[in-house]
């Protein structure tokens, strides 16, 4: 009797929680479908997708996301591997560092970056410039320096998710013992990384990548302060001038994020069952 009562309460709380998340989403969806008076339709979506500015910024954000993911993986996988294998005593420090982006707001990060990288490096007490500021690095009118800066910033923002995903993956397959087993069979570092470690942390890499994607595509602060036209600032601006289209795009962004989550669930579930069968 008591148990039933308890489970009834859990269900009520669960329902309240669900409503809290679903209602705003439903309202957004409902609103986005009412661009035309008195009918339900996808006009807001058509208009939003037809805007060349949307296509441009969305494509730019996607490219940035892909680059961020690739560079993050290249940096984080060997780092996490090395820490697990050779520097277990450094684990706490590294974990602390990876958590910093949670504590330091993006606005502080971007101001710090601008301060450091948009001023030249001089020889102390002179005006002789040693290194030109990164933000002035422009190739064929393309602001390469600024893009490098924003990718670096995104990597920092995504660091907690990526590092944790990779590290958890490495813990579940016990990379240390697998490495030793491969070494005793004669494998070199490259073979171990490519044929043993990477295939076994595939699911973790994917979940880290998708989380990074979700962060980069919706990011506003870094992009607007570095003056880059990406999807985040575009959506923000659109929200100030238009009514229905931002709702449509927000809903689409939600769907994308959920799809990403779904893929993570699916792949990690499958990994658990088949341990990454070919």
């Amino acid at each position: 009797m008591k148990l039933k009562f308890k489970s009834l309460w859990s269900w009520i709380w669960f329902l309240i929680g669900t409503l809290y998340f679903i209602l705003p989403l439903y309202a957004t969806l409902d609103f986005s479908l009412r661009m035309e008076r008195d009918t339900i339709g996808f006009k807001a979506y058509r208009v939003a997708f037809a805007d060349p500015k949307f296509v441009e910024t969305f494509a730019r954000s996607n490219i940035l996301a892909v680059i961020t993911i690739i560079v993050s993986i290249i940096l984080i996988v060997p780092t996490a591997y090395w820490v697990r294998l050779r520097l277990p005593q450094a684990r706490r420090i590294v974990e602390f560092i990876t958590l910093l982006p949670f504590v330091i707001p993006a606005i502080i990060l971007v101001f710090g970056m601008i301060r450091v990288f948009s001023t030249p490096v001089r020889i102390p007490f002179t005006d002789i410039i040693l290194i030109q500021p990164l933000t002035t690095l422009i190739v064929n009118k393309f602001h390469l320096g600024t893009y490098i800066l924003i990718v670096a910033g995104y990597m920092i923002l995504a660091l907690p998710y990526m590092y944790r995903a990779v590290d958890t993956g490495m813990r579940t397959v016990d990379v240390r013992t697998l490495t030793e087993a491969s070494q005793s069979l004669g494998a070199n570092g490259f073979t171990i990384m490519w044929h043993v470690i990477l295939p076994n942390i595939r699911a973790s890499l994917l979940s880290g990548a998708l989380l990074t994607y979700a962060i980069v595509v919706g990011e506003v602060v870094l992009a607007s302060f570095l003056g880059l036209d990406t999807f985040g600032p575009y959506l923000f601006l659109l929200g100030q001038h238009r009514a229905y289209e931002p709702s449509a795009l927000t809903f689409v962004a939600f769907l994308l994020t959920w799809a990403a989550m779904g893929i993570i669930q699916l792949v990690s579930g499958e990994q658990g069952q088949t341990a990454g069968a070919h």
Partner: protein, 353 residues
Amino acid sequence: MAYLSISNVSKQFGDTTVVDNFNLDIEKGEFVSFLGPSGCGKTTTLRMVAGFEIPTTGQIMLDGSDITDVAPNQRNVGMIFQSYALFPNMTVAQNIAFGLRVRKETDDMVKQRVQEMIALIHLEEHANKYPFQLSGGQQQRVSLARALAIHPQVLLLDEPLSALDAKIRVSLRAEIRSIQKSLGITAIFVTHDQEEALSISDRVVVMNVGEMEQVGTPFEIYNFPKTSFVANFVGSLNTSKATVVDPAGGILDMNGIRVHSESGVQGKKKGDVVMVAIRPERFSFSWEGKKENVTEGTVENITFLGSVVRVQLLIGGIKFNMDTFNRPSLTLPKIGEKCEVTFSSKAVLILDD
């Protein structure tokens, strides 16, 4: 010159010495076990042979060449882990083929060798399964096949059976031993289970806090333990202090009881105090036939342990365990009764310390 020779090897982690002056020569085809309690340095010693740890001092020679500082992937050494360490993303066949592929063997050669190995461990129907689809015992057999596929010079096994349940443990250890014998491969087997070590090894190295206590055949280790540590760790044992009465005649005084020992008390003087040990199964009731030593004891407790019955006796104020075979014709004294027990002078071991 021995096939594998570990000379004066010590290993320190920071300030702590984990392996202290380890010396062992192993002949080709020999099966040697490292036996000792947790933390005594068995794994560390094995890992130095594998190349995962570099000795702080000392030298390891394998088949005439110095491998002390050679990288693990440059040694031809097979390693078996307690956790199997199979590659989860590869099938049984792919796991076994791994070392051969690394060595860039031809496809035909790899295929043939993998088949041979799968036949050796009797897993023909499981060749295309993934590790998670196999039982622990099957996984460990795959890891054995994977290690043997590359024709290693030495096979190193670090508690390979500890994660398995008792029945499989016994059958798999017999399988490991028979494969090792038929291939004539040199093997080092780490365990903290004395029965395991005694049952499958040619020789056993008993270790205690980084030092070798005794090296010998299972027979020697069990019947002639040199130190009280070995005596206590291997089998169960009764130990007691005794005073030397007559060094030449091997007469000792054990709390007022005269005891005759055949093993050497030569090095000792009259009045020296020594440690003596008697295995429980060396006692018998004197109505079954008297031996050199006869004494009276009080029965404190009787426990049935399946095939043996353990009788706890108080002899001269000291507790002794006596084991006797459990057979239907056995007549036992009652608890609290006095009875006469006997043991031979060979049964009385004098320990070094």
